[in-house]
């Protein structure tokens, strides 16, 4: 594998709040290669959106990054240290230039008082430095490309005039119009019907091939990205629990949390199987458990270990990493048996 497009190392993000310092993300590391789709999965409160926003430096002013945190974006001609960017003109490259974002709620992402077209054109004029007329041509092309019917008349419409699926398409068109290298999609289909979700997922897959762009796809539903992602990273309370190729994570999930998430999905071919929730609720980030952050909900806790010592994320197979003592123990026992 060549040089990753984006490389995140030891990312730690904390927030100063009235109730104290909250750790939202802790020592998270991952790479995304050019043209790769990476699925970031976890429950609400697991820190996936905060991680994604860090790539565009969109976190609130009360946030601060750990001293060892690094985010390196590698473009054709240069490397950008994302966390070191300061001036608004330097930040442009990660805010709509080489990195772009699609949000969950398209209604909240477009300004209601401006037309869709004027907002798209504005982005193009800033990032591609084109004239208003050229921007309009590019924007209409892009709207057509993502399947917005009658794109030239949609250009002059307001967001309230579009249906949910059309809004999400317009949102994707706007994000893609500057030809970003990395698209961050934060729960882009959660607010949509399954039929429209299927259309949008297919569209995103087509666009990856056409533009050779990488996607960081954030979701709480493993089912949604199983067909889309190349790699999956599972997050819980700000830490990575398991990462690997989609095939290894879906077919051989090792971490009890990943297995819990997979079991919780209602499956149509197993109607008799009981539905199993991941027991308990995600703790408040103000009350992070000691040791392994998942031990309060885990069914495989090792006494005297998980509640006190923090597991490190370790390689368990080809391109497959897990942070769990129970998995380590199982693997040790297996190798001992194999070598008498």
């Amino acid at each position: 594998m060549g040089r990753p497009l984006i490389s995140v190392r030891d990312l730690t993000i904390q927030f100063n709040t009235d109730e104290g310092t909250v750790t939202a993300v802790e020592r998270v590391s991952f790479d995304i290669a050019p043209g790769e789709v990476m699925g970031l999965v976890g429950e609400s409160g697991s820190g996936k959106s905060v991680t994604a926003k860090a790539l565009m430096r969109l976190n609130a002013p009360n946030s601060f990054y750990g001293p060892d945190s690094r985010i390196i974006l590698s473009l054709d001609d240069r490397e950008i240290d994302v966390l070191a960017l300061k001036s608004p003109s330097d930040l442009k490259i990660i805010r709509g230039g080489a990195v772009s974002m699609v949000f969950q709620e398209p209604m909240a992402s477009f300004a209601p008082a401006l037309t869709i077209g004027s907002q798209m054109a504005e982005a193009l004029m800033i990032h591609l430095k084109v004239s208003k007329r050229e921007a309009k041509t590019v924007a209409i092309d892009m709207l057509t490309r993502v399947g917005v019917s009658g794109a030239s008349s949609r250009f002059d419409q307001y967001v309230v005039e579009l249906s949910g699926g059309m809004r999400q398409r317009a949102m994707i068109a706007m994000a893609l119009s500057t030809k970003p290298k990395l698209l961050i999609a934060d729960e882009p289909t959660t607010a949509l019907d399954v039929t429209i979700q299927a259309q949008v997922l297919e569209l995103m897959q087509d666009l990856v091939e056409e533009f050779h762009m990488a996607i960081l796809f954030i979701t709480h539903d493993l089912g949604v990205i199983a067909q889309t992602a190349d790699h999956i990273a599972v997050m819980y309370l700000g830490q990575l629990m398991e990462t690997g190729t989609t095939r290894s994570v879906i077919h051989q999930p090792r971490h009890p949390y990943t297995r819990g998430l997979l079991n919780a999905i209602p499956k149509l071919d197993e109607l008799d199987a009981p539905l199993v929730a991941v027991s308990g609720d995600i703790p408040s980030p103000l009350e992070r458990p000691a040791g392994c952050v998942f031990h309060t909900r885990c069914s495989e806790v090792i006494k005297g270990r998980c509640a006190t010592v923090e597991p490190e994320i370790k390689l368990v197979g080809q391109d497959h990493d897990v942070a769990c003592f129970a998995v380590e123990l199982a693997d040790e026992e297996r190798t001992e048996k194999a070598a008498p």
Binding site: S163, A198, R247
Partner: protein, 330 residues
């Protein structure tokens, strides 16, 4: 004692849109020609995309949406209520029997009330208990049935996660001891990981209390796991209804088949996107002529554009509204 708790005959709900100056007032045809029976103790699923009218139907049964034509009869086992002509003194009795669980547990609970007060409110409003001691006793019983700690009762909703809040909403709906509950997208706002927990709770309430549920959802895979019978709606009309297993084994309406194939699959080696739906649900103000689904149907023929398909029985428990249900192999 009648077997059906809810019987609906030829129900229509139309909302006139005010503001039209010329010509006839436009009308949103939210529901048309709805015929269905919900049996006592059943977990009845209602599915469809947004805009299909499933929420309006749930509300019409609860006397929270207007009835333009047709009839809804609610029979709790002792007394019959005609929802169209419900007498004032009967409204309270009916409301006690039929309750609603909302979709968004973040919006449904008042942030200024403690969990105890939220759960106790129906008892106090309907004057169902004789003393505060009795109210507290009842609240504690219901809370433990919904797996909330006594400890939680003194707190305010903001301290709870989505799953816990939804359990509080369920406790509030349950406290007046209803016989029928409408659960409108009650797991849609929750993470997949805790969705199962709420579904299991509802299922156990059905089994232990003999409660009847109308479970409204856009998610067929959830419906498949909890419901006994499923009805599929499209643009204000029923398109197919059958016992869950029968429906999932073989769909007879192209829309049901399309909904099913749109569910994301964990099976990495098998993309079963057999039928793909193009476009979106049309406007209910000007629904397509004939079969309302014909604009998106892969099997549509000329007849579908002209003639409204009858809601008919294929056998004793499988109904469908499609001209070609007997011929199509879906």
């Amino acid at each position: 004692m009648s077997e059906s708790i809810v019987s609906i005959r030829n129900l229509a709900t139309h909302y006139p849109i005010t503001g039209g100056w010329f010509g006839p007032t436009p009308v949103v045809r939210a529901l048309d020609n709805i015929d269905l029976e919900i049996k006592r103790g059943q977990f009845f699923g209602l599915v469809g995309e947004s805009g299909s009218g499933k929420t309006t139907l749930g509300r019409a049964i609860l006397k929270a949406a207007p009835i333009s034509a047709g009839k809804i009869i609610f029979h709790d086992g002792k007394k019959e209520f005609d929802i169209n002509t419900l007498a004032k003194q009967d409204v309270l009795a009916f409301r006690r029997q039929a309750q609603l669980i909302f979709q968004d547990p973040y919006a449904a609970l008042s942030p200024r009330m403690t969990v105890r007060d939220i759960i106790a409110e129906p008892l106090e409003v309907m004057k169902l208990t004789n003393s505060k001691v009795e109210t507290n006793q009842r609240v504690r019983e219901i809370a433990s049935e919904c797996r909330l700690d006594v400890e939680h009762l003194r707190r305010f909703p903001h301290a709870f996660s989505g799953g816990q809040r939804q359990r509080i909403s369920i406790a509030r709906a349950l406290v007046a001891n209803p016989s029928f509950m409408v659960a409108d997208e009650c797991v849609a706002a929750l993470d997949v990981s805790i969705q199962a927990d709420i579904l299991n709770l509802l299922k156990s309430l059905q089994q232990q209390r003999g409660l009847t549920f109308l479970f409204i959802s856009h998610d067929l895979s959830v419906v498949a796991h909890v419901c006994d019978v499923v009805a599929v709606m499209y643009l204000g009309r029923l398109v197919e209804m059958a016992p869950t297993r029968k429906l999932f084994a073989k769909q007879r309406h192209p829309y049901t088949a399309a909904l099913l194939s749109a569910i994301p699959s964990l099976d990495l080696d098998h993309h079963h996107m057999a039928i793909k739906l193009e476009g979106e649900i049309p406007s209910p103000i000007t629904p397509p002529s004939g079969c309302r689904f014909h604009t998106r149907c892969a099997y549509a023929q000329d007849r579908c554009k002209m003639e409204i398909p009858q809601w008919r029985k294929l056998d004793d428990d499988h109904s469908v509204a499609c001209h070609f249900a007997d011929e199509l192999d879906l």
